[in-house]
């Protein structure tokens, strides 16, 4: 069996895919895995195990003929087509698209077409008329519920595992054995990264200096600064401005492979949401993640035992105050659980849990109810009940319209009403954001309806609306029961 995994995202996502690849190979050691990545990020595959062949997408070669005074469109197209055809000639039994991007969906579609439609694919692809096609439920879930500001709390590691239809075991967070990095000191040390690939996720340089200054009286171990050549300026500022006496600056001096070894040797990794943090999960190095910016740490956070996450919307939040961060670092270096506000790693789902307060799990509970058939959320607001009732009403109206079309009415006459009904759903969503997971589910299921004749499309559309009908009816009942329980009785008031 020959399987192609399409991972055209960044370095961090390549590392996030590794546990699923390890698990797959653990179960199917004879299967041949081809890993398709961008040339720009292919260095990240060094140090990963269980990949039989790395195939690079040569973006630069493909686009070079276009970046000149006389645009050579045919050369560019021919270069791309040669690459695509060589991929198709590998005659894969299965292609799993792990990228969730428009580009990757078209490449997957190309491979299906080149195989005369005999290829099995998982993940985003395209219909014969070019619309996005999401054949599997996990990818549909990702489309609807994952990303920044979305309620998902499944980790990307498990999402990739599910796409490959395997369950991960702790041993799957591992990498290739690499020679140790030669350091100019001995004993325990901390690996620290300040800059992430994007500014909004990076620890501000001033804050990094303050954290280090706070550690001066509590720690005496070396702290190694890590980063790419583009981070040199910030590292030099930190080295010159910080009063921590045991700083070692290796910024821009290590390859990704060497960084891997170095992080493995560290007692603790501290950093923002970045590819190095994802490396630390594979080396099983306890990590303190300083999570801020447009990230969902539930999806991308550290997986080494003993890891801890301090999360805030941005680095000005008091939760990420240097005194708190340094306190957490000292605790973790003493193998103690940090006492500051944050999230510790658990072996359950979701894999992080707050140590200080009861989180608002409503939207996550709602997702579990919709997608996993688990118990409906326990508590509801009257606003949510109202939104569910309105959604149910408008959905009933849509079903009636579609049934009229099914029995002979002209679709064209109904379109304006159907469009107005969709507008009402948008308004309900805006007025009651807690209902978003249901609306996102509904929209994604409608998007998954493939091309066909009018009767087929109508039947499939009605099927989605009938499912929404069942869902809203059931939720209405739960809401009403819950609100009765929450309403104090007269005796209670007295």
């Amino acid at each position: 069996m020959k399987i192609a995994l399409l991972q055209l995202a960044r370095i961090g996502d390549i590392y996030q895919t590794a546990p699923a690849i390890n698990a797959y190979k653990r179960l199917y050691p004879d299967h041949e895995i081809h890993f398709i990545v961008r040339h720009k990020f292919s260095e990240a595959c060094q140090g990963l195990k269980n990949i039989d062949c790395v195939i690079e997408l040569p973006t630069k070669e493909i686009l070079s003929p276009l970046v000149q005074t006389q645009t050579d469109l045919l050369s560019s197209l021919s270069c791309l087509e040669n690459w695509l055809m060589s991929l198709a000639q590998n005659q894969y039994d299965l292609v799993v698209n792990l990228s969730f991007s428009p580009l990757s969906s078209w490449i997957t579609r190309f491979l299906e077409k080149a195989s005369q439609e005999t290829l099995t694919t998982v993940g985003y692809t395209r219909t014969t008329d070019g619309y996005l096609r999401i054949p599997d439920d996990m990818s549909a879930y990702v489309y609807a519920q994952c990303g920044y500001n979305k309620p998902n709390r499944f980790h990307l590691n498990e999402i990739f595992g599910t796409l490959l239809e395997i369950d991960l075991l702790p041993e799957d967070w591992s990498k290739e054995d690499l020679p140790p990095y030669s350091l100019p000191f001995e004993g325990p040390f901390i690996a620290l990264q300040i800059k992430a690939s994007q500014e909004h996720k990076s620890i501000p340089t001033g804050k990094g200096i303050q954290i280090l200054n706070q550690l001066k009286d509590s720690l005496s171990c070396p702290i190694v600064l890590l980063g790419g050549p583009q981070d040199l300026k910030e590292s030099e500022t930190i080295i010159h401005s910080s009063s921590y006496p045991h700083l070692v600056n290796l910024t821009g001096q290590t390859s990704l492979k060497e960084t891997f070894s170095l992080i493995q040797q560290a007692s603790l990794f501290v950093g923002p949401d970045s590819s190095l943090q994802n490396m630390a999960s594979l080396t099983q190095t306890p990590t303190l993640l300083l999570s801020a910016g447009h990230v969902n740490f539930y999806e991308t956070g550290p997986r080494a035992p003993g890891s801890f996450v301090i999360h805030a919307s941005d680095f000005t939040d008091p939760v990420l105050d240097p005194s708190r961060v340094s306190k957490a670092i000292v605790s973790m270096m003493n193998s103690e659980a940090p006492s500051v506000e944050g999230f510790f790693l658990t072996s359950s789902i979701p894999c992080y849990q707050s140590n200080q307060y009861h989180e608002n799990h409503f939207q996550w509970d709602l997702l579990n109810y919709i997608y996993r058939g688990l118990q409906a959320p326990e508590f509801y607001s009257s606003q949510f009940l109202l939104a569910v009732e309105k959604l149910h009403d408008v959905n009933t109206f849509i079903i009636e319209l579609l049934e009229q079309v099914q029995t002979g009415s002209d679709l064209k006459e109904k379109i304006i009403f159907l469009e107005q009904a969709e507008d009402i759903i948008r308004t309900i969503e805006q007025l009651s954001p807690d209902i978003k997971p249901i609306v996102s589910w509904y929209r994604t299921e409608k998007l998954r309806i493939g091309p066909g004749d009018q009767n087929q499309v109508l039947e499939n559309t009605l099927h989605v609306h009938r499912l929404l009908d069942l869902l809203t009816k059931d939720l209405e009942q739960h809401c009403e029961q819950s609100l009765i329980k929450q309403t104090p009785t007269q005796e209670g008031i007295l």
Binding site: R38, V67, T71, S101, W106, Y148
Partner: protein, 66 residues
Amino acid sequence: MNQNHDDSMETLSSYLKIALGQIKKAQTLYNEKIIHEQDIRSLSYQILSELIMEQIQNENSPLTTR
């Protein structure tokens, strides 16, 4: 990021935007000629367009392009 880098990125982006326009025209002409909805060449045009658009937007993370 220095000024030279900004300039070269701007030039690259403007080349790519011109190329994208040409590809879209070529793609439309090609798609008008073919009988079937998609074939290998029409898919190649589309993939090339997507690749260019990603470069212009500098977005290739799954969480941003989804």
